[in-house]
Every structure is written in structure tokens, then in C-alpha cells.
Amino acid sequence: MIAFAAEDNCLTCHKDIEDEDGPAHLITRDIHFQNGLGCADCHGGDPSLDDMDDVRKSAGYRGVPNHLQVPDFCARCHSNASYMRNHNPSLPTDQLDKYKTSVHGKRLFENRDTKVANCVSCHAVHQIGDGKLPHSSTHPVNVPATCGKCHADPAYMVEYNIPTTQLDDYLQSVHGKALIERNDLGAPACNDCHSNHGAAPPGHESLAAVCGNCHVFQMELFDRSPHKTAFAENDFPMCETCHSNHRIEKPHDAMVGTSGGAVCADCHSADDGTRAFVVADTMSTGLYKLVSARDQAKTVLDDAIAKGMLTTDVELMLGEVDQALIKARTAVHAFGTAEFKGKADTGIAKADTVLARSKALIDNYFFRRKGLALATLFITIVAVCLYLRIRKLG
């Protein structure tokens, strides 16, 4: 394959006339080139010819596409299922179709707006990388910066009348911190919610489906909750109403309740004719009780561990309390007390057992100490008697 590329006359000449950033130099880092494709496979023409004028006249020469032509230029291969099956069968072939449904595609094809992104805006030109590789512009960790190149630039976005704070917000969000700071590739980048080739903001009605892609249990509970209809009727964006969109902060227990930073009070009041305040208070109190029971149990358990007691079983049970806490926090999304109370009460009961068993271990520790003191005293008395006997013997 490399031998084929080396015989490419396009490269031979272009390398001489281009500087280090020129296509002929960049192409060696390109996944297409690395898989045996040469310049002529995209640009057409006969690569064995020496003279550029002859190449331009040769059969199939396509030259350099302009911004509007790029999607179709790439789609020649990428929308050709039989061709792609021979090269990369795992790659979908509907990118162009999806692109046409995207905000970018619509503006490009319908408004002939050449400022919107086409294939090369995100994938780069001549150094297109495999999205699985860390240096690629489409690797999950690099996606926010790739999108942010345009969307975080107020001057570039001025005519579109959409915010440019998404990247900053995302970087401070629980998702951004997980992906960028902790390199957790399970956390979503822009394309996981907005789709990549079909990029568009999710509508209010599809927002729960977007979040529910990962947060399955929360979505199921929400769909069965009274909020489902109320949000739809009032045209509230589903999850976003409480969690915001790009700047999603790590959820915390204070978000549930009727005072302070509780989001329930943003919409509900004590006399709004619903049971919302009662439900919110019940859930808030339940979470508070479970967390305090868990913390208290953990403190005593840590003490038992520090005292060198065997705590493996109790530690496992504390893990079950943590599980119950996660389930209770998830159950909040049912916005009713029945689902929640079951989970919270189980957690509190388990935390109480952990506390009782940890206390028993600590009692046992002191019992051992007392036993040791008695045994030591007894042995010491015998030793002293023996010593006196030895002294007497001389």
C-alpha cells in the first residue's frame, strides 16, 4: 500500500512545491492515505502523469471541491455501501442523509451558507484521523473543542443569534468535568446529545429521550410521573427544567425540597393545589435521614476499622446502604412518595444495622482489651512470684 503511494506522482511534485503544512505533507497522517488511498482517489485524474496540465485533462479529474461541494465529494465513497463494505464495514453510510437533516446541512444546501460546518470543518482536511485515536479532532475528548471552534466564537456566530457560552458551560458541567478532567470516555460530548452528522438541538419533546439514553431509570420514572403531562402541557423542556442543559451541575440532595436551593420551589408553592410541597418535603427529609444514618454508620465503622477489627461483612453492608441511597436519589424522579419511601426506608434500616454491628465490634474491641489486661495481670503476678522465688534461691 505504501509502495502504491510512493509511486504517486502527485505527491512527488507537490511535496517539492509545498511547505510543511501543505496537503502532500499532511496526507501521511491521514487515515485514508494510511489505508492505501492516494490523492487521485479523491481528486481524480491519472497520478502516473508527470505534467499537471496533463493530469487536469486526464479522465475523472475532479480537482479541489468548494465548501458547497464537499459533502457530495466525501459521500461518493461514504454513502456507497458496497464500496465501504470493502474498506470499513463498521462505518455507517448514511452520514450525508443525516447531514441533510442537520442545522448545518439545511443551511448549507438551502441557504447556500458557506459559514456552516461541512465534513472537513470537523474532520479536518488531508489529516483526517480515526475518531478512536486520541489525536483525532473527533475523538470524544476533542469533540467539545472541535464544536467550540465555531460555537464558542461570538464574532463567528454573531449572525446566527444563538448563545456562544455552551462550551464554557459544558466544561463546568458534571459531564464536561468527567470527560475532559477525568478522561472518562463514558461521559457525553456534544455529539452524544446533539448527534454528530445530524447535529441539531434536541426539541423539548425529545429531551427526555436524549438524557434517557444514559439515565434510563430516571427517564422511566419521569415518564410515569405527574410531571410528564404537566411539562408537556406547559412546554417545559423535560430534564432541563430542573437540571439546565449545558451547565448541568452534579445533582445534590438540596435540589429536592421546598426551601433554599431546592428546584421544586421554582414552580410550586404551598398552596398551588397540588401535593407537591408534601411530596418534596417527604423526599427531602427521607434523603436527609438516609444520608445522616449512612454517615453516622460509616463514622463508627471507620472507628472499628481503625481499631483493627475484622469488618469485611459490615463494609459490604455499607456498600448496600450506598446502593440504597443511589436508588432513593433515582426514585426522586417518580415525584411521588411510594417509590421513594421503599428505597429510603430499606437504606435507613441497613444503615442502622451497620451502625449496630460496628458498635458491637467496638464493644468487642474493649472487651478484648479488658481480657488482655486481666490475662497480663495474672501472668505478671505469676512472673513476680517466680522472680521472688529466684531471688530467694540466690
Binding site: G308, L310, T312, D313, R368, R369, G371, L372, A375, T376, I379, T380, V382, A383, L386, Y387, R389, I390, L393, G394
Partner: protein, 375 residues
């Protein structure tokens, strides 16, 4: 006629004595013990190290038998049974802690005992065979440590045993076979526990009991070694004390102190402390990646560290093999010192063997230190 209580007691005591004496001639034994004396001098403290080692061995036997009541060897039961012992069995944690602590202390005192014997030249004629049996006992004690380490079948034990048996596999000619014999196959598995268990509770105790009896009979027959300096002293300046009961009482006192220290350590640090620790941890999983730090027990650390420091090749020999060869030669010289040290045979101090002893001691201390610090 009425008999006074004291008279009755004396009569029954002498009756029992007579009964036994007629059958076992215990008067001769009592006479012998009555005449036996122990030298008294500045280094008399060294006479107690062997006794402490013996006491710790007795603790090992007693606690070992108690652990045996609940321990079940096997890849599916070993870890679970040890966990049951330390968490459910009444005072099981104490028995395991005592067994582990006294194992470590026994090895420590065996080493101390050996070095004091070495540096006082107490191995000289007529105690050459006593020394040899002692070296044999130390080797068996190390075997106890190595075979016992695997029995809880936890992560650390599993990987440390894999490394340890792997080293045995590096021995030329017999290495491959030795490895298979030790492991009961190519890999460390449940079969290895079976072998190590048999070794730990049957083969080694049998050998140890025989060798220990021989060692103690030798010591009793020859008495305590007198310091080299005493040969120039007039008889009037040599001080002695009776073995029975004076020395025996002192020995018992030391044992009581050792028991107190042992109980304290077992209760306060049931899982050991610092580098000497034996937490049960997680069950061995042969398919899991090895833990980041695999360390042998502290008494193998010097050998482990020395082998680690060796270059891959020394004079066309593989580094590890070269190390094992060197240890074998060193060990042989050490065991045969009473026969090699000609000066000690004629009650003279031997600078060469003093120096050799210090080199060995310094080597062990430095390598052990490096093993724990150079991580």
C-alpha cells in the same frame, strides 16, 4: 494411730516416686539434673534465646492444632475457612494472631540464637553436631513459614508463592521437576494448597520434632557452652548456677514475659503491624492481575532483594541462577563452619570467621532494609 496430714502427703509423694522410679529409673534423671550447672557471666543472657525459640515453637504447636480444628485446605474452602476462623469462631482471631505472631518471633529468635552461638564460637568442639542440627531446624522453620504463608489462599499469598516457587524452578537440572513437585502441577492451584498443607502440618512437624529432640538432647548432654575467655580463668573465678531449679525458673520467667508480649501483640495488632502483617485481604484469583507490590515475608526479604539487584547475566550465568548458587554455597559454608574454623577447634578466637559472620549479618540487614525502602 492417726497420721499427720504432712506425713500422709510425704508418704503418697514418695509412693508415687517409688512407683515411677521402679519402672523408669527417674532417680538417675533427678540426680543428673541436680548436678547440672549453667555458667554465669556477662553474656549469660544469650543462654535464654534458644529457650524463647523453644517456647514460641510450643505456642506454634498449640495454636496450630487449634487452627486445624476449623481450617479446610482447598481452593474453594481455604480462604473461607480462615475468614470463618477470624470472624465467627470464638477467639479464632486471637488464635490466628498468636500463631502468626509467634511464627514471626520464633524465626527472629532462631536467627538471634544462631548469631549469638556463632559470635560466641559456641559451635566449637564438642558442639559441631548441635550447630548442624540447629541450622537444620532453622531451615525447617523457614519451610514452615513458606508453606504456611499460602494456606489462607489470599491474593498476596498466592502471588508470593508463585514468585517463591518460581525461584525454585530456576535451579538447574532439577528446577523444572522441583517446581512441579512443589506446585502439584505447572501452576499454583488448589493442588498446591494440598501439598503445602501436608508439608506444614505433617511432614515438617515430623522432621522438626525429630531434629528438635536431637538438638535438645545434645544440649542437655553437653551443657551450656562456656565463654572462650574462661579457659584461662582459675576454677575459683568461674561462677555457676544450678540448672534445676535456678536456671529453669529463670527460663520460665523469660517464657512468661514472652507470653505477655505475645498476648499484647496479638490483641493490639491481630493483623500484624508495618511490614510484618498478614491481613486476610481478598481471596486469591489466579486470573486477576498481580497486586502492585508482591513482597515475601521479612525473613526472606534479604534473599529476594539480593536476587532482584543482580544483573540479568553474571559471567554467562543467568543472574537469578547465580544468586541461588551463591546462596547455596554461602549456606553450606555457614552450616559447616564448626568443621572449617580450625582455630575454634582448639579454643581460639578466629578473626576470619568473626569477619565472615559480620559480613553475613551486615548483608542480611542491608538487603532487608533495601527491600523495604527501595520500592
Amino acid at each position: 494411730m492417726m497420721t499427720a496430714p504432712s506425713e500422709t502427703k510425704a508418704t503418697s509423694k514418695s509412693r508415687a516416686h517409688n512407683w515411677l522410679d521402679q519402672r523408669f529409673k527417674i532417680s538417675a534423671l533427678v540426680d543428673y539434673m541436680g548436678h547440672k550447672v549453667v555458667p554465669v557471666h556477662g553474656h549469660s543472657i544469650f543462654y535464654y534465646f534458644g529457650g524463647i525459640t523453644l517456647f514460641l515453637f510450643i505456642v506454634q504447636v498449640v495454636t496450630g492444632i487449634l487452627l486445624l480444628m476449623y481450617y479446610r485446605p482447598g481452593a474453594d474452602s481455604a480462604y473461607e475457612s480462615v475468614r470463618f476462623i477470624v470472624s465467627e469462631v470464638a477467639f479464632g482471631w486471637l488464635i490466628r494472631a498468636l500463631h502468626s505472631w509467634s511464627a514471626n518471633l520464633m524465626i527472629l529468635f532462631a536467627f538471634l540464637h544462631m548469631f549469638t552461638v556463632y559470635f560466641t564460637h559456641a559451635y566449637r568442639k564438642p558442639r559441631e553436631l548441635t550447630w548442624l542440627s540447629g541450622v537444620g531446624l532453622l531451615a525447617l522453620a523457614l519451610g514452615f513459614g513458606f508453606s504456611g504463608y499460602l494456606l489462607p489462599w489470599n491474593e498476596l499469598a498466592f502471588f508470593a508463592t508463585r514468585v517463591g516457587t518460581g525461584m525454585a524452578g530456576a535451579i538447574p537440572v532439577i528446577g523444572d521437576e522441583l517446581l512441579v513437585i512443589m506446585r502439584g502441577g505447572e501452576e499454583v492451584t488448589g493442588a498446591t494448597i494440598g501439598r503445602f498443607f501436608g508439608l506444614h502440618v505433617a511432614i515438617l512437624p515430623a522432621l522438626f520434632t525429630v531434629l528438635l529432640s536431637v538438638h535438645l538432647i545434645f544440649v542437655q548432654r553437653q551443657g551450656m557452652s562456656e565463654p572462650l575467655e574462661w579457659q584461662h580463668l582459675p576454677a575459683s573465678q568461674k561462677k555457676y548456677q544450678k540448672f534445676f531449679p535456678n536456671f529453669l525458673y529463670r527460663d520460665l520467667l523469660v517464657w512468661l514475659i514472652a507470653l505477655n508480649v505475645l498476648a499484647l501483640l496479638a490483641v493490639v495488632f491481630p493483623d500484624g503491624v508495618g511490614p510484618i502483617h498478614w491481613p486476610l485481604g481478598t481471596k486469591a484469583d489466579p486470573f486477576a492481575p498481580p497486586p502492585p507490590v508482591i513482597r515475601p515475608e521479612w525473613y526472606f526479604m534479604f534473599a529476594f532483594q539480593a536476587l532482584k539487584l543482580l544483573p540479568p547475566h553474571v559471567l554467562f550465568i543467568e543472574g537469578e541462577l547465580f544468586g541461588i548458587l551463591l546462596f547455596t554455597i554461602g549456606g553450606l559454608i555457614w552450616a559447616l563452619v564448626p568443621f572449617l574454623d580450625r582455630k575454634s577447634q582448639v579454643n581460639q578466637r578466629s578473626r576470619l570467621y568473626y569477619a565472615f559472620g559480620y559480613v553475613v549479618l551486615a548483608f542480611i540487614i542491608i538487603m532487608t532494609f533495601l527491600g523495604y525502602v527501595a520500592e
